[in-house]
Amino acid sequence: MTGSRKAAWIIGAIVAFDLLFLALPTLVVLVASFTPGTIITFPPPGFSLRWYGNLLQARDFADALWRSLQVGLVCTALSLPAGTLAALALARFRLRFATGLQIYLLLPFTIPLVVSGVGLMLVFGRLGWLGAVWPVGVAACVINLPFMIWAVAASVNHLDPDLENAAANCGAPPVHSFFTVTLPAVAPGILTGALIMFILAINEFLVSLMLTDARTVTLPVLVYNAIRSIITPDLAAVSVVYVILAVAAIWLLDRLVGLDIFLKSKQG
């Protein structure tokens, strides 16, 4: 009895430590962003919203945020059809080169982002795409597509293998059955994947660093540039904007499909 209580106490302590450790950086930044001073310190010497006020007036931050959102939207719009169809094809049809195709699709994921970044920079430069915002979204889609495929594949693998047969048996021709049965049935996975892709895209840094210039700089890159010059508390305020975005995405996911599905598809 005492043994198991002791064990429970130890496990509880470990869990509490883990939770604290996971949340600590975010909490520190959150608290630090309310400093009235001109340098980031923890704990802050007082409370003020001055850096949030600064942020609202800083056009470069607002523009960079807007560009990051654009990158997120382009990336999500591209990965929706690409990832969904790839996952369905890989999981549902007996393709001749399924394994090879899977490895090919995971390729961007296995090589360092710096390498991908250089490659994309060369290709985009050749195509004359550099200097625009949307190619950054394309790049984010290319390097993160496996996440989309995994999310959808996890949903597809939960499906009854006879689902399309059942639709056909009910009288639905293949195209009908795809839109009325297959797609809605994997919708939780598609939605999960889309939100992951969006979040990853607006957070994407390394590849964006190589693909952007002063006119197209995205928020993470702008934050990095700012750190290199001088660390002011408005960076902490920017970080809080990111935290809010992430929390909003998770809230949306929970409302739409439920977090249990989100967590399950991440395992898949």
Partner: protein, 370 residues
């Protein structure tokens, strides 16, 4: 089509020499049968016998290599599944997870172009036929296993198909629920009078539910008969072994006249029945006797129409409604023999090691080519 439906004796389903090969394996070999309107047929066989392939060819998911499938007078072998008037209950049910029970049931009506008017009433009527009245608003994952079965049945029947196919939908259920659902399927099938083909490897299910049983093995139909005949007069050794608990005694045919056979097993002559007149004396045969047809007899207690053989008890198990004895038969070359004592409360229990005399009627010994 019009002329075909006029004749009353026309079968609802007719398969003629339907075959399917997957690579080197012949999954179904020239399967032919007729099925009368309103009857319940079970295709019974071990896994890999071709029964599921045959069912999927009828449903239209697999295209046969040869032969014809006629449904309600219309050849359908070239039709895609969505143009066949066939409802199907799938092995894992394949309910649409994003739809409510009622939407699942309404789906075939929508896809098959039924008028919107009266659709809701029809869905509700079928939900109440399967005793799910009031649960139409639930999603499949909010329903129990048995309730999900019922949704699948309603979805398969709501458009009043010519034929209902059951692809082992009961296999995954626990025993009590499975037995309840067997009777439930039968009730609904009789109530609606829908022609049904069921596929299973469960002999009990086949015996309980069917008007007719088709036993398959190795891609071939071994026997097509009603349940009683299938059990009482198996067509061959495979069918005899697949249904019931059957003891096989390997031996040679000593004589055969008018269906009465004498078999010699390790020097012991046994009388039995043989339906295969082509067997010549000396042929290797398997004599078969079912466990419940063998009894333990006191010495000198056997009747003139019985065979009696000495045996030694190896194991005895009490199962409530029966003793199950495992015996060793020294005079039959030491082969094992299993028998059921179906009145365990009235009979003494024979202990392992005890020597007993067992007896069975001559007509209970079935002789097949080995």
């Amino acid at each position: 089509m019009a002329q075909a439906t006029t004749a009353a004796a026309e079968p609802m389903v007719r398969l003629e020499r339907v075959s399917k090969r997957f690579g080197a394996t012949l999954a179904v070999e020239t399967a032919s049968f007729d099925l009368e309107p309103g009857s319940f047929l079970t295709i019974l066989g071990p896994s890999g016998c071709g029964k599921t392939t045959l069912l999927r060819m009828i449903a239209g998911f697999i295209r046969p290599d040869g032969g014809s499938i006629v449904l309600n007078g219309r050849p359908v072998a070239a039709d895609p599944p969505w143009r066949r008037s066939i409802g199907m209950v799938f092995q894992k049910l394949a309910l649409f997870p994003h739809m409510t029970a009622a939407q699942n049931v309404a789906y075939p009506l929508k896809m098959r172009g039924f008028p919107r008017q009266g659709m809701a009433e029809r869905v509700e009527r079928y939900l109440s036929i399967v005793r799910l009245g009031g649960l139409g608003g639930r999603r499949p994952h909010e329903l129990s296993g048995g309730q999900q079965q019922r949704v699948a049945i309603a979805r398969a029947l709501v458009f009043e198909p010519d034929l209902l196919l059951l692809d082992e939908p009961l296999a995954a259920l626990d025993r009590k629920l499975r037995e309840d659902m067997q009777l439930e399927f039968r009730r609904i099938q009789r109530e609606l009078g829908v022609t049904t083909i069921n596929v299973t490897h469960d002999q009990r299910e086949a015996l309980v539910m069917s008007d007719r049983i088709l036993v398959m093995e190795g891609g071939r139909i071994q026997q097509a008969a009603n349940p009683v005949d299938t059990y009482a007069r198996p067509a061959n050794r495979f069918v005899a072994g697949f249904l019931g608990v059957t003891n096989f005694l390997p031996g040679r045919l000593a004589s055969l006249a008018e269906g009465r056979a004498v078999v010699e097993v390790e020097g012991t002559r046994l009388e039995g029945l043989c339906a295969d007149p082509s067997l010549a004396p000396g042929a290797a045969v398997a004599a078969a006797v079912r466990a419940e047809r063998v009894r333990i007899a006191g010495t000198g207690e056997t009747a003139p129409d019985e065979s009696d053989v000495e045996g030694e008890v190896v194991e005895v198990v009490f199962e409530g409604d029966r003793f199950v004895y495992e015996l060793r038969m020294p005079s039959l070359g030491g082969i094992p023999l299993r028998l059921f004592d179906l009145d365990p409360l009235a009979h003494p229990r024979h202990a392992p090691g005890e020597r007993v005399t067992v007896a069975w009627r001559h007509r209970d010994l079935m002789v097949f080519p080995a």
